[in-house]
């Protein structure tokens, strides 16, 4: 990972490390608190959801993105605006299902896993599972029920990190937001 940082982006980079390390501390704490990887994955998803339902407001306020007309537009906004704004990366949107209700986000790099080496005894851990919860929570707030999961993970030996997103249904506006 080459980091040719100028003074200006230096502090931004440092801040990114703060997030990465904090996330790492959270994951390892969860690993200590819960007996198995599956439970940790669930917790990460839950916590991600809690973050997502609040993050969406921050996003809508700062991005001046209007209402998305279809799932394709949503995918583009997620990849080109949201990921860029919060993680400084722009995943590519690919592998659309014929029905147009499912797609993949391919991440060449994932700031959450900088410096991380997964030990052998955590082969079932989906380290970045927080992201799935965040996406799910955020989209629920804009009336979209989605299913999000990791299809590939560089930490587990794959070449890229792939997040698969599937549109389930539209949520009626008058249902209150659930908090777990």
């Amino acid at each position: 990972m080459s980091r040719q940082a100028s003074r200006a982006s230096e502090s931004k980079k440092m801040n990114s490390e703060l997030f990465t390390l904090t996330y790492g501390a959270l994951v390892t704490q969860l690993c200590k608190d819960y007996e198995n990887d599956e439970e940790v994955n669930k917790q990460l998803d839950k916590m991600g959801y809690n973050i997502g339902v609040r993050l969406i407001e921050d996003f809508l306020a700062r991005s001046s993105v209007g209402r998305c007309h279809d799932f394709r537009e949503t995918a583009d906004v997620i990849a080109k605006v949201a990921f860029k704004m919060y993680l400084g990366i722009t995943p590519s949107v690919t592998n659309w299902s014929p029905a147009g209700d499912e797609f993949s986000l391919i991440l060449e790099s994932n700031p959450l896993v900088d410096f991380v080496e997964l030990p052998d005894n955590h082969s079932g851990l989906v380290y970045s599972n927080l992201l799935c919860g965040v996406l799910r929570g955020a989209l629920e707030m804009v009336q979209m029920a989605v299913d999000v999961k990791f299809a590939q993970d560089t930490l587990r030996g794959d070449n890229v990190t792939e997040i698969r997103m599937k549109f389930i249904k539209r949520i009626e506006e008058n249902l209150p937001a659930g908090e777990e």
């Binding site: 801040n15 490390e17 997030f19 904090t22 501390a25 609040r54 921050d58 700031p111």
Partner: protein, 158 residues
């Protein structure tokens, strides 16, 4: 390059997690704070290792504290510590008049009560950073008037 907002959201969720599984009572409150502090400690160790990779060797303890107040604080909180005081006998007080993790909160009385939760992780970071530089300490914090707070570092002789 993660956005600052993302850290704030994560930090809040960390606090929520530390407290949700706890029961009522003073003891539990202490345990939650300790958990947050411990997570901060590990992060502080890592951050300091990165931040001091290209810096010159530190001269002495005061040199280290100044680094924490200037470079470390700026890298982590985008601003320096506003005021550093010491009794030259191992006690340092770091004052941040606009602590970034408190600025999101209102200044109401009920929030003051919860303020320690928002400081625990940072206390840990400072303690972890110092520890990795060979300085053993106890770090506590208090809020008098939001969003200003003071971090007190007590150096422990090894």
């Amino acid at each position: 390059m993660a956005d600052e907002a993302l850290f704030h959201f994560l930090h809040n969720e960390l606090i929520h997690y530390a407290y949700k599984s706890a029961e009522q009572g003073e003891v539990e409150n202490g345990r939650c704070i300790t958990r947050l502090e411990n997570m901060g400690f590990r992060v502080g160790q890592g951050l300091i290792e990165r931040f001091t990779k290209d810096t010159a060797r530190f001269k002495d303890e005061l040199d280290v504290m100044k680094f924490i107040c200037k470079d470390f604080w700026t890298s982590v909180f985008k601003k320096q510590i506003d005021n550093l005081r010491t009794n030259h006998q191992g006690i340092y007080v770091l004052q941040d008049n606009k602590f970034r993790l408190l600025t999101q909160m209102s200044a109401g009385k009920q929030y003051l009560e919860h303020a320690p939760r928002y400081l625990a992780f940072t206390c840990g970071m400072v303690r972890g950073g110092l520890s990795n530089l060979g300085v053993k300490s106890i770090v506590t914090a208090e809020v008098s008037v939001m969003p200003a707070c003071k971090f007190q570092v007590m150096i422990q002789k090894m």
